[in-house]
Symmetry: C2
């Protein structure tokens, strides 16, 4: 029976206390970083009308959980948060003088590809900057991302920047057949460099442009990468110059060290139109953040404005942080109080009011030590005469005190 | 086009910045209150297997959003959070020595009844105390609720306590026909006192018990209500004594003043087995919180343990707080900085690092005052010679400073 009752939908999972607390801290740190740039929190419904989301992009909504409402309309669980945010800003904030800066922390839902270990529900924290264009806006979005990741304590992360505009200019300059171009784009989306090189050499172009084409998805580095592309493919120069200017601004924002040009970055949402962004943490296979510029999206909701945004994948970020943390999990400065549910309710109350969590047990409970060990509370206390006998697990010391709140506060600090 | 693109599913809505920030503060205050009692955060997936949720209660899952997964299994968007929490605790925390204390903040989903203005998505913050029975556990759950509501700043709220056990004892003692009992229970669930009195007088019982029966759903007050029921219906005395003892413990927890016995409280989930809880705020029609004891639920997931829990409805609570707040919304201590996206990136960065949010605009922007007014930022700043010209909207004063961070910090405090 255990297996059956524990069953969950493919790609979903429960989050237990230690991880849930850590995810909560990560969310708090990200929200503070977003707020320091003036991004204001919004929320949209988890369910949207599929027809409205369909309208947001070429080719429609794509894979999503769909269901019918009471009137037979198709609803969808939002598969991303950028489209709902764009819808909200274009409709509910159409009168905002702009630029509009909003943030969100919420779940997006996509049915996992059969046979692949993909998450059905992904918790994302992100920002959208709508109504601002140019390298300054791109740089701000990337700086917010770097500030957010830094605020969580993550070290060694890398933010890769590609450009849909630059890639498009290189492909356009080569006058490829439609078939060759489609094959190259598919390989780039899949980050399949082998297929890319085969398709590039089969495309029948020569010279510098052909060398750029073959090398494109593997090109990583600083401004020198952009200079090489500009020299070889002059049509790509404006897009390269824009990325170069973005790097320059990031230097002044203080987020430059983590940023690398990576022309292999190409997000798989068709709404991206300029810079595309992916962040990676050491020892995490999936990106911890992704985003980019999507200037055409707002117009589809009736209020054209340029826009750029990034979203941080909280569980991937948590894995990155977990890999960097020392194994020893600390004890929590709280007390398991025998009798706190009945004989010592007042002492429990006074201790909570002094800022120390109290986990109450009934009088005579013999589970206190087991509970403290299971949940990693630092103190165990029992009524003892007119006062309390306390075990400080962290120091493995025992002491008594008259008033529990004062006795613990002096040590917990 | 505006109307069409803005369309949302029935019963859903967008949450705009001011409300979203206030909801975030409410969530934070509640989580802190829950943590002070040792409740630890968990999270469960929004989608569950419908068959698993069905098993949790007599009569199955009831109204819910359902859809099919890739294998043809029926999934459901969780219509409440108590059943998923009970599933998680019974399966993933089966080895916990207990009592288990968990909290959550998440959305529950129910299709609105056609023609009624019900929310399809309800954000709830709640606690579950599993593995503890008796008045002490009931009182703790109610004390956590009162502490949480108090921590948000809500005043004048009332926590009503009913008892499924007590109501059942009264109905049982009267030896009613099955039909009469079903009619009375339906009236109680609907809080339809008129139908209740009709059904009670048609039930064909006399004496004290009949008077209690007719009056039951309107009985509100303190311990005297319980004494009256016990005297008239001796079979109800144990349930009444338990409630009385709970009130006594609440007196010591400090949450007694807000609590009232209200035998008309009867939650519409069939899993409740003892105390049932509803909290109301002035000027809010719907309950701001609800919960109760559900001792039979964990056994359905293979690990029998007694349990009690409460959930706070965040949007109803927000309405209650909004009704109590003075109309004037304060200004935020942040600055709209012209040139903060390009010429003054470094000053923006230094000001953020000093703890003051900076909303950056491009050089020469003429939208600064409009943006500050729309988003209620206190300061507007522009580069001026070697320093900055600042408008302090709160005091309607203008001043200049060499370093923006220092110039603002001295005033923002």
């Amino acid at each position: 029976m255990g297996d059956v009752t524990a069953a969950l939908p493919t790609g979903t999972r429960d989050v237990l206390p230690v991880e849930a607390a850590e995810l909560g801290e990560i969310e708090g740190a990200l929200c503070d970083a977003f707020a320091s740039f003036g991004y204001r929190r919004v929320a949209t419904p988890a369910l949207e009308l599929a027809g409205v989301l369909d309208r947001a992009q070429e080719g429609g909504l794509g894979a999503a959980y769909r269901l019918f409402d009471e009137r037979g309309r198709v609803l969808a669980l939002r598969p991303d948060l950028t489209v709902p945010a764009a819808r909200l800003i274009a409709t509910r904030m159409a009168d905002h003088p702009g630029p509009v800066r909003v943030s969100y922390v919420a779940s997006a839902f996509r049915p996992p590809t059969p046979g692949r270990a993909e998450a059905a529900e992904q918790r994302l924290a992100g920002v959208e900057l709508v109504g601002a264009d140019g390298p300054a806006a791109d740089a701000e979005a990337i700086a917010v991302l770097a500030a957010g990741l830094g605020a969580t304590g993550l070290s060694g992360f890398r933010v890769g920047l590609g450009s849909v505009e630059l890639t498009g200019a290189v492909l356009g300059a080569l006058a490829l057949s439609e078939e060759a171009e489609a094959r190259l784009r598919a390989a780039l989306r899949a980050r399949d460099h082998v297929t890319w090189r085969e398709a590039a050499s089969a495309a029948g172009v020569g010279g510098d442009a052909a060398r750029v084409l073959a090398a494109l998805p593997g090109m990583r580095g600083g401004a020198e990468v952009l200079e090489w592309v500009s020299a070889a493919v002059p049509d790509a120069a404006p897009a390269a110059e824009r990325l170069r200017h973005t790097l320059e601004l990031l230097d002044r924002h203080g987020g430059r060290d983590a940023v690398v040009i990576d022309l292999g970055v190409m997000r798989d949402w068709p709404y991206y139109s300029g810079v595309v962004i992916e962040a990676y943490a050491p020892d995490v296979g999936a990106p911890v953040a992704m985003g980019g510029r999507y200037d055409g999206l707002a117009a589809r909701f009736g209020r054209p404005r340029p826009a750029v945004g990034v979203a941080i994948a909280l569980e991937a970020l948590h894995r990155g942080l977990a890999a960097q943390r020392a194994d020893a999990e600390g004890l929590h400065d709280g007390v398991v109080l025998v009798g706190g549910m009945d004989d010592a309710v007042e002492a429990a109350r006074a201790t909570r009011e002094a800022g120390i969590p109290v986990v109450a047990l009934p009088r005579g409970s013999e589970e206190a030590e087991a509970l403290a060990a299971a949940e990693r509370w630092r103190f165990v206390a029992r009524p003892d005469g007119a006062g309390y006998a306390v075990h400080d697990v962290a120091r493995d010391e025992r002491f008594t005190c008259q008033r529990l709140a004062e006795g613990l506060a002096s040590r917990a600090a």
